[in-house]
């Protein structure tokens, strides 16, 4: 487990990375990866890094982001799929950690932006804010890799490493500051986003 606090941003409440800076680094190095985002701030973070037809933004279906990514990863084994979500969203679907570990896709990476709080609803403390370790749970479930990152330099190293072939699903928990940057709103029309995403893969609308 990584514990370095090297270049962690200390703006906002408490310590932790700047979420926008961390996500921008992962998106800049996506190298063609398909991206699924969890509702709330992770969708805003990915949109702020640049809208892209290879992004599928969730505005609801809480708990679904990593599992949408699983269905997609199995459907598109030749492409890397990255799910980017928050600690609150993933805590709602802890069983997904077991299901993904068991399905064992080699092209699925889950990034959990962990500020230990429910930022969208008033910064109530989440289970990770009370000590729960999501990376340890993923490791126990059998994920090929599971790590907790505290600094942007570690995120840079992760972004490069994610381009390497994987033995199975990989999780990285990014410890970010508990703050809400200005919202960057992706389109809310789920059908439009679906059709745009499928067209990016050369698939017909219907």
């Amino acid at each position: 487990m990584v514990t370095a606090m090297s270049d962690a941003t200390t703006q906002g409440q408490g310590t932790g990375m700047d979420r926008r800076a961390a996500v921008a680094r992962l998106i800049a190095a996506r190298d063609g990866a398909l991206v699924v985002t969890g509702l709330g701030s992770p969708s805003y973070d990915v949109h702020a890094a640049g809208d892209d037809p290879a992004n599928y933004y969730l505005w609801g279906a809480m708990g679904g982001a990593a599992l949408v990514a699983l269905g997609l990863a199995l459907a598109q084994p030749g492409r890397r799929v990255m799910a980017i979500t928050g600690d609150g969203e993933q805590l709602m679907a802890l069983g997904a950690l077991a299901t993904i570990a068991t399905a064992r896709p080699r092209n699925l990476d889950l990034i959990v932006l962990d500020n230990g709080h429910y930022g969208e609803t008033g910064m109530q403390r989440s289970h990770t804010g009370r000590g729960l370790d999501l990376a340890a749970m993923a490791a126990a479930a059998g994920w090929a890799e599971a790590a907790t990152l505290h600094g942007l330099q570690e995120v840079d190293a992760l972004a490069l490493r994610l381009r390497d072939p994987a033995e199975g699903p990989r999780m990285a928990v990014l410890k970010i500051a508990a703050e809400n940057p200005p919202r960057s709103l992706p389109p809310r029309d789920a059908t439009f986003i679906k059709t745009r995403f499928r067209a990016h893969l050369g698939l017909a609308p219907c």
Partner: protein, 180 residues
């Protein structure tokens, strides 16, 4: 286009799980996710043994709704198998295929409605169809093996060709006590 016309079937079709497997394959299904149910046991075995199909074991049914959405985003058709009690777990996740207008094909084995010995199955059994319809899923019911094959074939068309979210309820009378 797969031929999904109703297979020849006598009123007393009993090998419907094998025929369902063949029918779903012919409809292009390449992912099958499930929470086990005795009524689905044979179909699950067929999918698990099928090299063309990713069979995905779930911890809870709503996982399968999200997985089916991801499969469709990636151009793959899927089916989701569950028992009626699992429908209650799915409701909010159904927002995704309903709002995104993505194909969804669910095969739901009914409990709590015919010769049931476990009273805890009854409330969700009663809520299954209204709950699905309340969130926008089309519900069809099969009471015989022949019905089930015909209904599932056209439900696959409605899902994958017309972007609908369809649940086929398999009556407990059809499943019968013996198979439990």
């Amino acid at each position: 286009m797969p031929d999904t016309a109703a297979p020849d079937a006598a009123p007393d079709v009993t090998d419907w799980p094998d025929r369902l497997h063949a029918l779903l394959k012919a409809a292009g299904v390449r992912q099958a996710s499930y929470v086990p149910d005795a009524g689905h046991a044979t179909l699950i075995r067929r999918f698990e043994a099928d090299e063309d199909v990713h069979a995905i074991s779930l911890t809870t049914e709503e996982e399968g709704i999200a997985i089916a959405a991801g499969a469709w985003l990636g151009g793959v058709r899927s089916v989701l198998l569950m028992q009626s009690s699992g429908v209650g777990n799915c409701i909010n996740m159904l927002s995704l295929p309903v709002q995104a207008r993505m194909p969804l094909l669910m095969l739901v084995t009914m409990r709590g409605e015919w010769g049931e010995f476990n009273p805890w199955q009854v409330p969700m059994s009663r809520a299954t169809q209204p709950a699905l319809e309340a969130i926008g899923v089309t519900v069809l019911r099969a009471e015989t093996g022949a019905d089930l094959l015909e209904i599932t074939a056209q439900a696959a068309d409605m899902a994958f060709e017309s972007d609908q979210q369809v649940a086929v309820l398999i009556g407990q009378r059809l499943l019968g006590r013996k198979k439990w």
